[in-house]
């Protein structure tokens, strides 16, 4: 279980994350939404160690990870993918997976053996199959399509076998059809891998369709949490976010 307790972070006078407390039970799927600048990415950065929180706790199964370094937090079981696909552009898909498993098995500093180590192959293979990247295993990451790069980014997080997977806008920059394919993939992963998934998403249709639980952030605060129906009917949310956004989308 991932518990966030009174998490806060300010940049100068701006409270990017303001006293956020949330519970993510094991095996849950949660969408984080909010207008631009609501502090969604900052929230992820605080959990994963990219930023150090000013105050508050990030408890994973009771262990406080707040303020620790990214490698430490990853090793405790919180993996993440990025809004802009963050990959290794000169490595092939297969090399990327194998190297990531090496990192997870703590053999990334081994000098006397040849890459790839046999014990890394099964896991790399499994995740490539899972995300449909096995056909493209010998493609250099830089030559992959945008969608496949996003998948590779998610594969990188997933291959570490995390307890919690944070996806920062898995559908960013995708066309409508590609979006649905990606989000179906995310849902499928969540169902088959039995991990806790938290994702940021802009597309309301997607969020309301697939997320059992939704968190709405606004100006660094939690505006509302609940099921899609509760969020849809929450007056504060409609005012702050959905009202303008949906009116704009409909127009």
């Amino acid at each position: 279980m991932l518990e966030i307790r009174n998490l806060a972070k300010s940049f100068g006078g701006v409270k990017a994350t303001n006293d956020v407390s949330l519970d993510f039970p094991d095996g849950s799927l949660t969408a984080v939404i909010g207008p631009n600048g609501a502090g969604k990415s900052t929230f992820f950065n605080l959990i994963t160690g990219a930023l150090k929180p000013d105050t508050g706790q990030v408890l994973l199964d009771g262990v406080d990870l707040a303020g620790r370094s990214p490698p430490e937090i990853v090793r405790h079981g919180i993996g993440r993918a990025f809004q802009v696909a963050s990959i290794f552009k000169s490595l092939t898909v297969q090399e990327t997976m194998l190297a990531a498993v090496s990192a997870d098995q703590r053999s990334s500093a081994v000098l006397h053996r040849r890459f790839p180590l046999p014990e890394t192959c099964d896991r790399a293979e499994h995740v490539m199959e899972l995300l449909g990247l096995a056909e493209k295993r010998n493609r250099t990451a830089a030559t992959l399509s945008h969608g496949d790069q996003k998948l590779l980014d998610i594969a990188l997080a997933l291959v570490l076998e995390p307890k919690v997977l944070l996806l920062d806008e898995p559908t960013a920059g995708m066309g409508p059809e590609e979006r649905w394919r990606m989000i179906d993939k995310v849902r499928e992963l969540w169902e088959t891998q039995k991990i806790t998934v938290v994702f940021i998403e802009h597309d309301m249709d997607i969020v309301f369709k697939i997320a059992p639980k939704i968190v709405v952030l606004c100006y660094g605060r939690i505006l509302a949490t609940g099921t899609p129906d509760e969020i849809r009917n929450n007056s504060a949310v409609i005012e702050a976010y959905l009202g303008t956004e949906h009116a704009g989308a409909a127009a």
């Binding site: 990192a103 000098l111 053996r113 040849r114 997080a157």
Partner: protein, 339 residues
């Protein structure tokens, strides 16, 4: 033996067996290369040719070690030459002052270099790009001026004079020209083989990840700082090996060995030969030394000629020679597969 070819070989062979095969293939290539080099004195009495190969060994070890930083990790050091100079001076001083057997001085020099590189590296590898380049350059100048000003110990601007004693060991007499030649070749081949192993190990792929995207690597649980420091020390050790070959060759050590121009030549060599293949710097070394030797024979303005050649590679090809060849091969093969 380019990365591209190696990658292609990996796709053909199953992943599991491919890794072990790669190592045997590298050892085989190394043995053949050594056999060819070692038999050279049987066919030619040319002292100049053997001298050329010895110099190639010294510079080749140095340039290839620099490529571990520049090409594999993306750390562009402008001060790598300090470890070349450190190797030459430390080896020369140990031999002159302590009179220990050569292998002892050799190992001691590697150890001294590793310790000093660990201290300098700990300060430098936190810095990014241009700051890393400048601070390594600053350390190079620090070591160079220490050598110049500590004249009672290092001989100052005169260098280590009086020759480096080269007592025979295990039947090897490095005062003998052919023995020195064979020993240099052996050090070159062993050094290259060791660096190839580093480049193709899981650690080598960690270096590539850091070069491509250090932030992402840290989100996979990799300690970026420690990895960079490790490769900084390893590269320094091989550069120091090159320095020792040079010291043995000239039987001395001079402040120029630790001057920033050595680092500059290392960068030149990498630009000439290319950084995307393992052997690029070796090709670059042969090119640069050939150019140096031929051009200086014809004109005293050899700097201008070298500059034009470098510009041709940097602006014309936009890559080193071996990068160019490797890419050409890949394109040709892909075109063939497309048919």
């Amino acid at each position: 033996m380019t990365e591209l070819e190696a990658g292609r070989a990996g796709t053909l062979a199953p992943v599991r067996g491919g890794a072990a095969l790669g190592r045997y293939r590298d050892i085989l290539i190394a043995l053949i290369a050594f056999a060819v080099l070692a038999s050279l004195p049987l066919f030619t009495g040319s002292k100049a040719l053997l001298d050329f190969v010895i110099r190639c060994s010294a510079y080749g070890l140095f340039a290839t070690s620099l490529n571990l930083l520049v090409g594999y990790t993306g750390l562009t050091s402008f001060g790598h030459g300090m470890f070349f100079g450190l190797g030459a001076y430390s080896f020369g001083l140990i031999m002159q002052k302590l009179g220990v057997p050569i292998p002892v001085a050799f190992v001691a020099t590697l150890a001294i270099t590793a310790v000093i590189a660990a201290v300098i590296g700990a300060i430098c590898v936190r810095l990014k790009e241009i700051y890393f380049a400048f601070v390594t350059l600053a350390f190079q100048m620090l070591i160079h001026s220490t050598i110049l000003s500590w004249a009672s110990f290092t001989g100052g601007d005169q260098g280590l004079r009086g020759g480096i004693p080269r007592p025979a060991f295990l039947g090897i007499n490095l005062a003998n020209h052919v023995h020195l030649y064979i020993a240099s070749c052996a050090l070159l081949i062993l050094g290259l083989l060791a660096m190839r192993q580093i480049a193709q190990s899981p650690f080598g792929y960690t270096l590539r990840m850091i070069r491509d995207n250090a932030a992402r690597a840290s989100f996979l649980g990799i300690d970026v700082w420690r990895t960079k420091l490790t490769v900084f020390v390893l590269a320094a050790v091989f550069a120091s090996m090159g320095g020792m070959v040079m010291a043995l060759f000239v039987s001395g050590a001079y402040p120029e060995f630790a001057y920033w121009t050595i680092s500059g030549e290392g960068i030149f060599i990498n630009m000439l030969g290319g950084v995307s293949t393992f052997l690029g710097p070796m090709v670059g070394t042969v090119l640069l030394l050939l150019l140096n030797d031929t051009v200086t024979r014809f004109t005293e303005y050899h700097g201008i000629v070298l500059g034009v050649v470098i510009l041709f590679f940097a602006l014309g090809l936009r890559k080193g020679l071996l990068d160019f060849v490797a890419e050409w091969f890949v394109q040709r093969r892909d075109a063939g597969e497309g048919r």
